[in-house]
Symmetry: C5
Subunit: 316 residues, 5 copies
């Protein structure tokens, strides 16, 4: 589906145009949005829009990382939006030219909807230009990252505090899941940060340089998000390492119990087994105090063993 | 609450002004402090102070990392103070213009109090400018980091030496807690260091360049603190890894004891069990020296086992 | 085998030339392909082609990493192709001069075949130059990396989900194998990325600068692939660490079972052994309720032990 | 204590001066050494020496890392010496001006003593300048690091070879100690290296640029030492990781022994227990060959178990 | 021992000169080789050769890392050769001046021998200069690293495949040894790479710039070797981590066997012990089917236990 919003020379907004209506030179500026276009619609990118084959290819394939490409006639942006629930990435491609912006996305984009609505609802649309649309799209895109990353952080804090008293298996799975999500989200945030950095330092887009503080603001958000991601990844590693240390310690405690019990009872069991033998000639068995003497010896062994382990510090 | 301190053209300090009294051009320079302002007071930022919407937004949201933004009329600083007990971060935002400094903080700031007191107590206030206030605030802010970081270091040294003879579980928790705190504090110190670096190398603030040695001094402190933080994080990792190695070794020792005991007594118990059987025809039982021969055999087995493990080095 | 494709001054393609036919100055431009050449053919590099001894040496030895060398007469490229099944690297060496490109490879190259076919099949071959061949070769080379790296990624995802229910030994082997492959592939992709970066930023090849967007596109692919490789290596480490944590936890659970069983039954076995002894004077044996009393005591011990471990949280 | 060495205009060395004798303009150049000064002596820094309050503060506090500060009148150095036995850091502060050097240290400094002795013992002191003193102090300072770092390296080699046959506990403690020392020493060497790098690349001190090869030599030493420290830290990590692997393997071997013994003897003990029961009707007991048959069965079980574990490779 | 090779003004090679014969200005260029010189010979560096004291000191001490020092009269190189069997480093110091090269090494150097032989055997020695000697020495030095590093790589591959069926202890030792060797070799290769990089980018040695492709070739080799070293170190870490995971898994399997055996036989042994007691009144013993009932109960217990563990997945 293609939607066109154009500002006429009389500074009024015109909508509901089709590609057939649209004529190149007649508007102050215009915004063409390719929303999940079919093959015929994609063809408009080639003709009449005449974009470079490489940009068109980038729109159609999914291999892209966020980037800027400068062409003589326009600047081409590949950006990524994050879907709030699945953390899935969606490409939003932008062509920004002298008096137009073309947005291209394979699935409906809430960012595009939001900005279109804002533009159409604005009382003084004449203040807008294609660069305002660009800024609003980038700003809204990045703003949408924030709740996602903070949700991951909250999830991590939950793991750390474990108020739900989850079992260790579940916690370890959650931890692994969190690392996985952070890794995935980082692959969007870091190249977007680099994109904004390039944008801020380029000399090719004067419209951007003139509004430097606005783009700088988006860049600051991305910088902050990158730090949050890195710090959360470090924290997951800390939690896991801390768990490993704790587990190793726990493991030793368990083995100490096992060893104490075994060490005390094995010799005793041997002794009682010894006097359970059926040899015809075993002098101790006939001795009247044999039984009590043996009980005494066994008690002594048990106490000695116990004291030995106590002195080794195993009961601390 | 808003407090205004102004130096009049006659070089005297005037305090207790309200935003209504205050008129833009009548002072040599002035300092407006927004201390936990209410909504009406926040509005002064927009009017009459006329700050850029982006800066005002940065004041009101908490997402910011320390940074500098240059606007035509003023320079905007986001800085962080650290609360001594909870390691909580508080934003202190500063607008520094031609003849004013505006500070904005959502909670009372001990740094602002300290500097205001120092200014009001100074006998020659005419020597001060808005940049002196800026320097004093930054300097005091960073000075307040130092005891916090050294407290963490002391806590870590305590863990290392463990003079309180804490149990291993407590130590591992403390270690994890320390890493957590260091991570948290680093998120304030590193961006502040970058802020100072930017400030030192900018050419936009000549008042700063002229007092380079003073700002350089703050930067040196932040550099040192960053190193202390990094080195303490490395040390926590060292302690944990060292603990893991020690624990693995300990674990082997415990299992060696268990194995020695089991290996010696299991065959012996089997033997005594064997001659405890009630078969009617067991020739050994009838033999007069059967019992003593068996005792001899069992002693031999035990000694051999013992020597075997001794030669393997298990008793070292 | 040597194959020569030349564009004559009349803008027609000529093929099937031999090195003997070939005369230097008579073509618009030409492409000489050394496909698994024998020693005599290799000699053509020295004479009549007159390449620098160092370049020729680089062709013949296998020690090379992807690189560009600038000589007065030509630019020399060492590039690597990846074989889809074995992940083996093959060198493809290119000499690009004023009006020629010479490709040299010790084994048949599917990339060279593909580009030659494309050139010969093109209806307007006059549009091609030696730089078109260079671009097509590099582009196709890098395009061939993509399925290989994505195959590794798929394999890793399979390990992560383990839908085939493979045993842990197999999974660990697979994981190690994946890391190994990623390491190996990275050794091709990273220097190729650096090569493209150099190519993009050099001022020596104007034909490349004029088509910057095309080479930039290859570079973007390599950048993306590098990120995919790094992120997959991180993910393998995450999986392994997660496995280690899980295993340590599992290990404790097993030992807890062992310890509980041992701790409950060892004292009981001792007791029953005790009353299995054959001492002539053991008063308890003669007591009528001895047996039932003992059963009661043993049940009490077992229940207490059980409750002790339950309170320790071992059955959670 | 303050000691002054001055070269008079007549090119003779004068010593034993006091701050009262000393007059600013009368010497070719002079060296004032503040050796563990008392409060009154510290005041001389302010008056008559007139150093900047920030430099004086840096002298008095201990928070400093090695650094250079350029002031209009002089250059201020903070350097660290290492004490050979305790690895303790001592600050040595230097003020180098047009015709003077002032050294300041809170404890007696063997480096200052050494250089003073060398200067006083020199037959042609006229060749010296304050920069010669600076170079000699830095050179000697860094030379003193070398035996300390090599001593740590030797200690590490001892751990690696363990010729003294120390127990594992002691080795692990030693390893941890070594890492700790390396961390501590690195905090001196790395900032000193950065200081020298700054010194080499500054354009403000022509006397240093003219003797570049000398300072470059000190820098090379620091570079080498940094490498030695890093490589030793890597080696400690290698030793520890290697120990962990070895330990894990050892752990498995021990458990294999335990498991083999348990698995062989537990069923046998059960069997002999079985026929030790006192049931009145147990047909096997009455059978003449019962005992020998059981012995045969038990031998078979033991051999089978043994072969089972042998085939599993547990005895390799 | 000192050997001098000189090219006379008549373009002929002269050898067998002594330092006494040698006169500074009479040769086109000359090469003086100090091969394991004695103290008297070392003195020639000072006089008549007049090298800078710092360079001479660098020759005599062993603390040096590969580096270049530029002096007015000459360029001083410290390079390292690797001994093939022991991986020991040997310093080869070079002084390259206007019309001479001086090489200095404390032990006989196979690189120097090789280059001297090549020069003396060359039919047109007039083509050589001192820079040809420099290039040949560097090239040969680096060529000698290659087999050493590839030998380590082969050793690592052997460990990985373990075709010799070595025991785990030996493999772990080999792995540690390999890491150690790689660390040691890296300390030669990395600074040599930096040296070549400096050499390639300097503007002080026009003779080098003119032959840039040759030095660039050496640099490429060093770059490749660095990568091989790093990648092999990563691979050793991978093997070790993989071993640790595998071992942890193995450990669990062993403990599972132990636990299964213990859990099944401990209750059974208890039961048979129970009925081996000698209480006078134990009703079960007198019951005719007591024995067979007990056998049935015990079989049931064993089967239940077995099924319990089977369902837990312990036999997978």
């Amino acid at each position: 589906m293609i939607e066109i919003i154009a500002l006429t020379k009389n500074k009024t907004i015109e909508t509901g145009l089709t590609m057939e209506d649209w004529k190149k030179g007649t508007y102050e500026w215009y915004w063409i949005d390719f929303n999940a276009p079919d093959d015929k619609e994609v063809d408009y990118l080639r003709n009449p829009l005449q974009f470079h084959p490489l940009s068109i290819e980038d729109c159609l394939h999914n291999l892209q990382r966020p980037k800027i490409d400068y062409f003589d006639e326009y600047t081409f942006f590949v950006t990524h939006s994050l879907e709030a629930k699945t953390y899935a990435k969606e490409e939003l491609n932008l062509f920004v030219g002298d008096n137009y912006i073309v947005s291209f996305h394979k699935k409906p984009s809430i960012e595009v909807q939001y900005v279109a609505k804002k533009l159409l609802g604005d009382k003084s649309p004449a203040k807008w230009s294609q660069f305002t649309v660009l800024y609003e799209l980038l700003d809204h895109l990045v703003d949408n990252y924030i709740p996602i990353i903070y949700e991951i952080e909250d999830f991590l804090n939950e793991i750390d505090e474990n108020t739900d008293n989850k079992s260790m298996e579940v916690l370890l799975d959650d931890l692994y899941e969190t690392r996985h999500r952070l890794l995935s989200v980082r692959h969007t945030v870091v190249p977007m940060r680099d994109l904004l950095y390039t944008l801020l330092n380029t000399k090719k887009l004067t419209a951007v340089s003139n509004k430097r503080e606005y783009y700088s603001d988006i860049y600051d958000h991305l910088l902050k998000l990158t730090e949050v991601i890195e710090s959360n990844r470090e924290m997951t590693a800390d939690i896991r390492d801390s768990y490993l240390s704790y587990n190793a310690h726990q493991s030793n405690r368990i083995m100490q119990i096992l060893t104490v019990i075994t060490t005390i009872f094995m010799p005793l069991s041997f002794l009682v087994g010894l006097y359970g033998m059926n040899f015809q000639y075993m002098p101790e068995l006939a001795w009247k105090y044999g039984y009590f003497t043996l009980l005494g010896i066994m008690a002594t062994i048990a106490v000695c063993m116990f004291l030995f382990f106590k002195r080794k510090g195993w009961f601390k």
